[in-house]
Every structure is written in C-alpha cells, then in structure tokens.
C-alpha cells in the first residue's frame, strides 16, 4: 500500500515514516505542502493520504478539498497541532476521514490507519 505523507516539517515526515515502517507500511511518498502533495498524488498509485494542516503555499485544508474534488474515496488522515473543536469539525467537513492531534503516539497513528483501512 502506497501512502502519501504531506507535511512541511521534514522532521515530522521522518517520524511518520518511521512509525509507518514499524507497523508494516514502507511504501511512502512525500510532499512538503498541498501543492507538491497534489503533484505526488497525480503520479498515481497512492492509496492513502496523511496530511498536516498548517503549511505554506497550499495548506492541508485546501489540499483536502482539492483531493476530494477529484477523488472522493481515498482515505485521508489529518495529523496536525490544531486541536480546537471548530478546526476538527472544519477538517471533517472538508472531507478528512479521521484526525490526529500532534504530538501523537505510534499506537494512535496505527489505530487510526487501521480504522481507515478496515
């Protein structure tokens, strides 16, 4: 399963990649903002997206809306520091399937991914 990780922090992308590899997902592509995320998605093969919210150029919310415009089915997990209730609701309304607030534990990421794929 190929997973697209979109986050402007290279440290955070590494952490997510590490966590994914520990739970058996090693096929990963990276984007550093919504714009490059869309480019990577356009290259095909991506079956799931993990995206941050706060990014330059194109933020995660715009990215999710753009993805949903062309692919209503792909599972999207938002992983962000935004913890306010209205943010979570806004993301869900935009088309996010699940939501993780940073900092997270690997167990939480695993649980959320499995619930999206299950």
């Amino acid at each position: 399963m190929k997973i697209l990780i979109v986050d402007d922090s290279s440290t955070m992308r590494r952490i997510i990649i590490n966590t994914l590899s520990r739970i058996g997902y090693t096929d990963v592509v990276e984007g550093e903002n919504g714009k490059s995320g869309l480019e990577k998605l356009g290259q095909g093969g991506v079956e799931m997206i993990i995206t941050d919210w706060n990014m330059p150029e194109m933020d995660g919310l715009e990215f999710v809306k753009a993805v949903r415009g062309q692919n209503p089915a792909i599972p999207i997990l938002m992983v962000t520091t935004n913890a306010a209730k209205e943010d979570i609701v806004e993301a869900l309304q935009a088309g996010v399937n699940n939501y993780v607030v940073k900092p997270f534990t690997p167990e939480t990421l695993k649980e959320k991914i499995e619930s999206l794929l299950g």
Binding site: M12, R14, P103, F104, T108
Partner: protein, 205 residues
C-alpha cells in the same frame, strides 16, 4: 547557531543576533514599535526584499531559529537511525551466535537471551526518542503563532502612525490558537475522538 548563521543574521538584520530573544516575552508593543517607524539601521535590502523593517528582523530571526532546530533535529534523527541499525545488526549477530555449537549450554543461552532482551529495550527507547522529536514541529508552529501576533502588532502600529512598511506577504497557515497545543503525546486524543464521534453521529442522524 553556528558562525555562518550569526553572520547571515548580522548581514540581514544589521543588529547583534543575541539581543531580541522575543519568544518568551509577552509581545510588548515597544519590542516591535521601537524599530518600526524608522528605517532599520542597516537594511541592505535582501534579494526578495521581504524583511526591510524592524518586525522583519524579528521574524527573520524566528525563522532562523526554526530552520536551525529543524536541521539539528534531523541530525539527532540520523544518529537515532544509526543506533537503531547498529542494534539490529547486533541482534542478527547474536542470533547467529546462538546457533553456534559452543553456545548451546543453558548458561550461555540464558546470557544470550538477556543480551537480546537488552537490545530490544534499546531499540524501543530509540523509537521512543524518535517519536519525542515531534516537539520540534510543535515548537515551530508555536513560534509561527508568535510571529503572527508580532506582525499584527506591527501592522497596527504602522496604521496608527501612518508610516512604515506593513508585513510582507503570506506565510504558512497557522492554528487559530496555541492554547490547546499539547506537548504530551496523545493528550488531545480523547477530545479529538469525541468531536469526530459527535460529527459522525450527527451526520448519520
């Protein structure tokens, strides 16, 4: 911060880099207001000319801080990756050793198992340390929020005095508040899950 960064800061902002460590202080208006109305003492207009005023200097410094912490965090991650690979290699060597004829006595096997289990503990701690590096991104986003406040104060003062330059163009989007941004892993999980649950059941109903 290394010498090249200090030099870059001096060249870009025209002031000693150590002076305005703004992050911890409340955004006191004078911190921003002081340099704002007057053109910055030495502002050699960088290429893209994004920061030619006082607030730009502070913002540039904060940007440097985040860039440096990200770079250094990645160095720590490299080291942790290296430790992890070494432990994996060690585990493999020990597994091979266990099959060796001379290692079949119960005492030796027991000792080898203990070494293996210690190796597993090291591996777990390495992963834990990697996960804790999330603090870098969280701190970066908190700094972005502070920069946002500084820009608002700066622009307000520019409006008020009718002089000076407003802040430069868009940056990364920022969270509405950092009040809820946690530092302990999963401290917001229950809250987020309950909002998701409520949203989903509302949608169903």
């Amino acid at each position: 911060m290394d010498q090249s960064e200090i030099d870059a800061l001096l060249a870009g902002g025209g002031k000693a880099p150590k002076k305005p460590k703004v992050a911890k202080a409340a955004p006191a208006p004078e911190a921003v207001a002081a340099p704002a109305p007057v053109p910055a003492p030495v502002a050699p207009a960088p290429q893209a000319a994004p920061h030619t005023d006082g607030s730009g200097h502070v913002i540039a410094e904060l940007d440097t801080v985040t860039a440096v912490t990200e770079r250094e965090s990645n160095k720590v991650m490299d080291q942790l990756d290296m430790i992890s690979q070494l432990v994996s290699r060690q585990q493999k060597l020990i597994t091979d050793m266990m099959r060796h004829e001379g290692a079949q006595s119960p005492g030796v096997q027991q000792a080898i198992h203990e070494v293996m289990s210690a190796g597993k503990e090291i591996q777990d701690k390495v992963f834990e340390a990697m996960d804790l590096m999330q603090f870098q991104d969280i701190t970066r986003q908190k700094l972005e929020r502070i920069v946002h406040h500084l820009r608002q104060i700066h622009d307000y003062i520019v409006d008020l005095l009718g002089t000076g330059l407003k802040s430069d163009a868009e940056r990364a989007s920022i969270s509405h508040t950092i009040a809820q941004t946690g530092t302990t892993p999963d401290e917001n999980k229950a809250h987020a899950d309950s909002v998701i649950e409520a949203f989903k059941s509302q949608k169903k109903g």
